[in-house]
């Protein structure tokens, strides 16, 4: 068995390591810019604990950051923090998940997320490009979608979190919708989101 990493693999690992150290240094720098570090931490957490909802990720974001800042305060080196970063992110994600299990069970009770199974998301692309600028573009596009139509935004978030859309709309807006209406809303929300996203991509390219 060939256990040696290919040159390509070594280059990828080196780049990832540098990206992580750069993000840590930006956070501990004089301006305390934490966005890049937050993105990395959330990606690590989500990969190991994919069932986290975006609300839970919000909690993981803060808890993991506070744990890392404690290490800054103790004088830990960037290299040491980088070595432990994934473990820190995943531990916090598991803590948050354990705390959220009971409420999530309650939310999903009696509803097997039929809508999701019937309509797999076309947005689920395995080979997504994960450069920071792309993240930033998606963040901008989602923010624009929320400003333009909060129901569409909630519909998309319900789908990616795995919550039934009718239940989400009932919780957020006290609005009763049928599965048929939810499907139509989802289709329109996707179209609107993709239009915003492609508009932003064109603006960046020009």
């Amino acid at each position: 068995v060939d256990c040696t990493a290919s040159a390509e693999e070594k280059r990828r690992l080196k780049t990832e390591r540098e990206e992580i150290e750069d993000a840590i240094d930006l956070a501990r720098g004089p301006n305390g810019v934490v966005r890049a570090l937050e993105l990395i931490v959330m990606r690590m957490a989500h990969r190991k604990v994919p069932a986290l909802t975006h609300d839970e990720l919000q909690v993981v974001r803060e808890k993991a950051l506070l744990a890392i800042i404690e290490k800054f305060d103790a004088g830990a080196t960037t290299s040491a923090i980088a070595n432990q970063l994934e473990a820190t992110a995943v531990n916090k994600a598991r803590d948050v998940q354990a705390a959220a299990i009971s409420s999530r069970d309650h939310m999903e009770q009696g509803d097997p997320v039929v809508l999701l199974k019937a309509h797999p998301s076309p947005l689920n692309v395995a080979t997504a490009v994960e450069e920071h600028e792309d993240y930033n573009r998606v963040i901008d596009a989602l923010a624009q979608l929320r400003d333009a139509n909060e129901r569409y935004y909630e519909v998309i978030m319900a789908q990616i979190d795995g919550f039934p859309i009718p239940q989400r709309l009932k919780n957020r807006f006290n609005e009763d919708v049928t599965d048929v209406t939810a499907r139509k809303l989802l289709q329109r929300a996707r179209e609107r989101f993709e239009t915003i996203l492609s508009g932003l991509a064109k603006a960046t390219a020009s």
């Binding site: 803060e62 800042i69 004088g75 080196t77 997504a128 993240y135 989602l142």
Partner: protein, 143 residues
């Protein structure tokens, strides 16, 4: 580019709260000077005209680590990458910091002060000796 569900979920976190929480901001604002940097700051303050001063300042400015971290290869490689110091220059700095730290520890425990006071040039006893004084005495005796 088509965003993945993971990307959308993470993006939503920033849409709902664009900036870090106040707790995170407060915690960042309260981060203390790292022990290694504090030691090197003191070393620079006490040692005027020190040849390694600018290299040491670059290490202090990283604001991280403790003296024993200087033994870790990944931290050394990080320092070289971030400061542009040569390997040789870094070795000199590490050696100077380690010596200073040892002397400081000896002075603080009392052993160094007694030792140096017993051998001082004019035979006087000093109750308070700084690590730099100790190092100066050592240099004088070596000459």
């Amino acid at each position: 580019m088509n965003p993945s569900d993971e990307m959308l979920k993470i993006a939503a976190v920033f849409v709902e709260q664009p900036d870090p929480s106040d707790r995170v901001k407060d915690a960042l604002a309260r981060v203390k000077r790292a022990p290694l940097s504090a030691l090197v700051d003191q070393m620079i303050r006490e040692s005027s005209g020190f040849a390694l001063k600018s290299a040491l300042k670059k290490i202090a400015d990283l604001n991280q680590g403790q003296v024993h971290d200087l033994d870790a290869p990944d931290f050394r490689s990080y320092i070289i990458a971030r400061t542009g110091l040569s390997d040789e220059h870094l070795r000199d700095c590490v050696s100077a910091i380690a010596t200073y730290a040892k002397v400081k520890q000896a002075v603080e425990s009392g052993a160094g002060a007694t030792l140096i006071a017993a051998r001082a040039e004019k035979g006087e006893i000093k109750n308070e000796v700084s690590p730099s004084d100790v190092l100066r005495e050592l240099a004088r005796r070596v000459k």
